[in-house]
Symmetry: C2
Subunit: 283 residues, 2 copies
């Protein structure tokens, strides 16, 4: 496994692989890898001859009041984990390599970036799409894998790829969960053991919502009322949003007559956690 | 010479050329080709094994009050001219192929897009950078050639390519002029024969400015005063802007102590014309 830190080196390797007819699979990450990341890498491994991951805590997708500084980092451990799943190259640029002085170009997806996390984290998706566009130009992948836990991010990236005619196949991987259902996240490290139990309410409310919908409830308001009562019966969890939206356009839905995204964001202690499910009504 | 209308077809050809080790050179145009365009193509021809041009009047770079509808078009003539300089493929997509329903992604370069034409044509450079990013993803060129007549556009595109790590070499070609000095432009077709004579003032003022600077004048204000007096001694020409700026950052200059961009935009009849020179003081 090779560790590459410069754009020039990474592009030269990608060019050579492409000349050799190799298929490049790519998983961008912010590091502090967990089993969710490793599942994406295993999936990517099956879709390419060469597996590249990036580890880059991207400053432009964090707001000024957010957790960029304290976001967990552990490169030596990440490298061991990456090697264990067959990663060929880890691209780990510095912030200066990615955003040199005078940097001033941004990629922005408008409509699907607006609701949900886009509304609560101004500039977040602009930071995400810009860095992913850069990484695609640097790694030159044929296929890239993203987790469905960041559901809106996946929708936004698919939209960017289609709109800008990027010749990259984007694959989503189902959310990987702990045994009790908590969605894996690097930010779970912020949780105390008490908060860890409270955080489980997100998964519990998603399951309850699917149960209601399976039982024939079609009113989004009714489902959301139940979700909110499970999430926040006390102030140890503060709901940031709980919304039901179209899984592709992310437009708000009043009635659940087909697949419907239930997306949650909540603060538990110092952690802001997100989770989601695509609810499917009984047929 | 082949004419290609779909993104998919164009990308497949580009992939094959790249697999075959061919170098792809690209000239994006809005058609209605003149000798300026043909000079860019001849330059590109020397830099690649395969020469692709695009002909696409890009709606997103025109303002609502601008000349998108009446912009001159003549595809049969363009194809003959392209063939005469050895173009291999002409990519001519429809507007629907480039901007399908639900399109919502934009590439924006901030600082260098703001002054000059950026200040007078809101959204213009966002339209340019977005379509060029798309065209680069579709044609997959190793090298692309742009005219220096659109000087700010060249600066903006170079900035985008560098910032987004696009692996494309951007070459500028000196402005091609008529015998009397008028910069070639598809929009010159809007000029009556009287207006054609008035339009020559742009070139005349550029030449006078260089003469002043060669004679040791370093005050930008002094040069601009002379430029304005040549451009608009009567109301047959209306100055849109006449400014002296740093050739790379496009920041305004008060003193001309090194290369300095003199950029002009002016209305003559129905035409908005631009021209520029990089003034060089005596050493």
């Amino acid at each position: 496994m090779n560790v590459v830190a410069t754009v020039k080196d990474m592009q030269a390797r990608a060019d050579q692989w492409r000349r050799d007819g190799k298929k490049i699979a790519f998983v961008p990450t912010m590091g502090y890898l967990h089993d969710g990341h490793l599942a994406l890498m295993k999936m990517a491994r099956r879709h390419g001859d060469i597996l590249v991951i990036s580890i880059f805590v991207n400053p432009t997708q964090f707001g000024p009041q957010e957790d960029f500084e304290r976001y967990p980092r552990d490169l030596p451990r990440d490298l061991k984990l990456a090697e264990s799943v067959g990663v060929d190259v880890v691209f780990t640029p510095s912030a200066e390599e990615m955003y040199p002085q005078n940097y001033q170009t941004y990629v922005e997806v408008t409509e699907v970036s607006r609701p949900l996390c886009g509304a609560r984290r101004p500039g977040h998706f602009r930071g995400v799409t810009t860095v992913v566009a850069k990484l695609f130009n640097i790694v030159k992948p044929h296929v890239a894998v993203f987790g469905e836990k960041d559901y809106q991010q996946l929708v936004v990236i698919r939209r960017m790829v289609q709109d800008l005619n990027m010749d990259v196949e984007v694959l989503g991987h189902p959310t990987v969960r702990e045994k009790d259902g908590l969605a894996m996240s690097s930010r779970n490290v912020y949780l105390s053991s008490d908060e860890r139990k409270v955080a489980l309410r997100l998964y519990q409310s998603l399951m309850k919502a699917q149960e209601l919908v399976s039982n024939g409830i079609t009113s989004a308001a009714e489902v959301l009322q139940e979700v909110r009562s499970i999430l926040a019966p006390d102030d140890r969890l503060v709901i940031d949003y709980a919304e039901i939206r179209d899984p592709e356009t992310l437009e708000e839905l009043d009635e659940i007559n087909g697949p419907a995204l239930l997306a949650l964001a909540a603060f538990v202690g110092k952690a802001r956690l997100i989770d989601n499910i695509v609810l499917t009504p009984r047929s």
